[in-house]
Symmetry: C2
Subunit: 531 residues, 2 copies
Amino acid sequence: MLGGMQDYALRVPRLIDHAAREHGRREIVSYWADGRETRTDWAGIARDAKKLAQLLETLGCQPGDRIATLAMNHSRHLVAWYGAIGMGGVIHTINPRLFDEQLVYIANHAEDRVLFYDKQFQPIIDRLRGQWTSIEHYIAFDDEGPDGFQARINAFDDDYAWVEGDERAPCMLCYTSGTTGNPKGVLYEHRSTMIHAMCEVQPAVFNLSATAVALPVVPMFHAASWGLPFAAALSGTKMVYAQTNDAAVLCRLMNQEKVTHSAGVPTVWLSMFQHIDATGQRPEHLKQVTIGGSAAPRAMIERIMGMGIEVKHLWGMTETSPIGTAGAPPPDWEAMTIDEKLDRMCKQGQIPFGIELRVIDDEGVEQPRDGVSSGRLQVRGPWVVKRYFKADADAIDAEGWFDTGDVAVIHTDGTMQITDRAKDVIKSGGEWISSVELENAAVGCAGVAEACAIGVYHPKWDERPLLLVVRKEGSGVTSDEITAHLANHVAKWWLPDEILFVDSLPHTATGKLLKTALREQYRDYRLASAA
Amino acid sequence: MLGGMQDYALRVPRLIDHAAREHGRREIVSYWADGRETRTDWAGIARDAKKLAQLLETLGCQPGDRIATLAMNHSRHLVAWYGAIGMGGVIHTINPRLFDEQLVYIANHAEDRVLFYDKQFQPIIDRLRGQWTSIEHYIAFDDEGPDGFQARINAFDDDYAWVEGDERAPCMLCYTSGTTGNPKGVLYEHRSTMIHAMCEVQPAVFNLSATAVALPVVPMFHAASWGLPFAAALSGTKMVYAQTNDAAVLCRLMNQEKVTHSAGVPTVWLSMFQHIDATGQRPEHLKQVTIGGSAAPRAMIERIMGMGIEVKHLWGMTETSPIGTAGAPPPDWEAMTIDEKLDRMCKQGQIPFGIELRVIDDEGVEQPRDGVSSGRLQVRGPWVVKRYFKADADAIDAEGWFDTGDVAVIHTDGTMQITDRAKDVIKSGGEWISSVELENAAVGCAGVAEACAIGVYHPKWDERPLLLVVRKEGSGVTSDEITAHLANHVAKWWLPDEILFVDSLPHTATGKLLKTALREQYRDYRLASAA
């Protein structure tokens, strides 16, 4: 027996239709790299998306085809999302900061047919055009000439009906680039995207409504911009976009547009702090700042909270659409001391409806939520990947669990805390040492600019930590001094067997330590303690 | 081509599993009619629901079977919802305030197999048991003996896996009783209920999170208690339930449990005002009050807002699960004067994602959103009825629109305003006169206790208004005085052709004016103006 309610496909164009109908006059502001500011609104985005859908059809695109973008945040990029999805296509956002090799691989693997791009990335196009095998059309978003984005779509009107289809059909493709192997594509569905959007507007996550004004610093090419372009349409949020991450510009825009919500990776806020310190200016209307992408330092959370702004610490990944956890205030928030609040907000947050998380040990046994038992973090839910694009096998186990590659503990109150990447954890005598915690403790020592902990072979303990340290300019900090400092912060058996001083450390395209290269370099390193 | 995300059925047991896992210690407090208070939590509700599911299976219940309740708000009623739904059943909440004839019809039409009830309704059971043809088991929620609810479910443990099934399968049945004809059943689905719950926790509707403490005065037998038992589990809201609507008890509970959110029909708040005026006590922690069921008077909204509490005006119906619109603050809220805010909040609110509303004239032509063009209000969306339970035909037109039976206008800012019930509107010379607006204006006249406007036959104008008035005790207010008062509030051509004074007016079981009976009574009434 089925129920008596209406048929309703969870398709993404419902969002832009709703935004245009109920929040049509809420603005979408764009700051362009050349300093211009333009304004449209949700009704305008919907109109242009319908024009774009027709352009894509005229170019021969079919439902299911991938339409790529290589662009920063602005209203035309938003039009491209809704237009490509609305004609049944799959919007594929490419990260322009990737290495050429990855850029070539990704576009060819996705079989992108059209590429919309920002002129600032013209050098990338010029360099790689010959290696991209499927892209037939290149259209610059910010080319105001007859071949540019706006002129091309203005050849069409907004008399267009969105393509209908299965709610499990794909709508978006995002690649995740690890430190090894080729990037892998996560193919989001209309349904998964809609459920994700409905859940992320809730107070415990983004807390969005028609009174919110959001400036997402998180790029639209980064994990679906955390779903904000969808959640904003659902809730009628006014959006402020910038083609730049310059803190002075962002701060001015925030005040000019009375921005209440922002979201970005930790480095964004470090730049903002420098701007505040240098100018005395500050964002005056911010109520909530969401930090994700990598763990936010305690001092950063403390400073933002000290400005009277609520901090939401987010954990997720491209494979989770990307919301995994969000640092919402717990029931006893009001009664907490500032230190307790900071302790709480330094962790990765609680598990919102839809997501299931568990921590397992090396034997696959689920670990208790005791704040101590660490293990591999696994996730499942309606907006979690099942199978990577074009993969031959599912990325999940028989019970639906996806292994995140993170090492974590879950606390008794349900708060999750990432302690390391699984491949970076140092396995010593059957116990795990967190490389991240060692590094964080080490950079707290005066004279240490950067540190990297890796496990190297030890005949008795299997692995023991080796700490690589870049000294600050002019510092003569010694191994003994660093070890003494570490002893105040980590267990004695975690202390590195040796500390080596190096001139620099290698990084990935996204600024993370390239530990694979370091492990390879020190693979045959023989610790004195192993003698 | 389908996407790459996980399979995930939108089934209601996901909610209680989430609440037990992530918000297991959040309390569910119950105040019982005998003055006792009991406490459990979301983990406890989940445990007892699993026990109950097994009891129902032992009693022979199958997936799809209807399990009825005749009860006020308390934790065991909540257990019955999740337990019955969890074993694949359909929870059918019966309104104990209905007339016997309706109670008999509803339970027999639903083919209820088990009835859980509060002892205070034992007289109803004793009276109707012989006429109920399908109910095999009667179990009292608040019977603490061996045949009572808790003893019966405690024969089972919580080692139970919820029944799985289609997400379009039914989970709940609510009857809507009009003033004519038999009540009609709306058969909610797992999917419709889940989408409704995900959308109603958003800031613009109930604004629920794990820091919220809700005391829903709206009964669990009234339109799924506005979905709060589902939305609360999704968001980890602490729930406070009372088997009584006594304002003194509710106010004490609100302060004792630090209640932040409440929801109920307008009369609830009238009682609360009387309690506040009489005792000087007031709810100290309330942040949001949601008013629905019927239109909230301006003075009520003003008084609650004056207490520093946010007011959400809700419109909906059993056929819409029931959220239709919610009076969320618009973008320019902060800049509004108090009068502008009140003007806004007196209307029925804005349209949340999922719902589509339109107003059509008698010819079916969609009317503009100009705040003036009134017509029949139609609705469609994922949580709107398609076909009543056991009906032979759909309740919607070919485009999916359900006719609400309300007359409304939509304002330029998208705010919807109910002006009348379609069957109560007075059609005079091809134009519509709102009976509700006439009545509201009339009760503002000194000496008028209650008023009812109905259309009676007129040879020239088709219908003209007749106003029936109950004078206040000791008042001698005259027709001329009332007409003079009305002339300040409505258009001249709306003024009643005649005013008749009556001793009392008939009401429905839920306290609404029984206009069908009055129209019947005055069917042959001959207006002097028609002579």
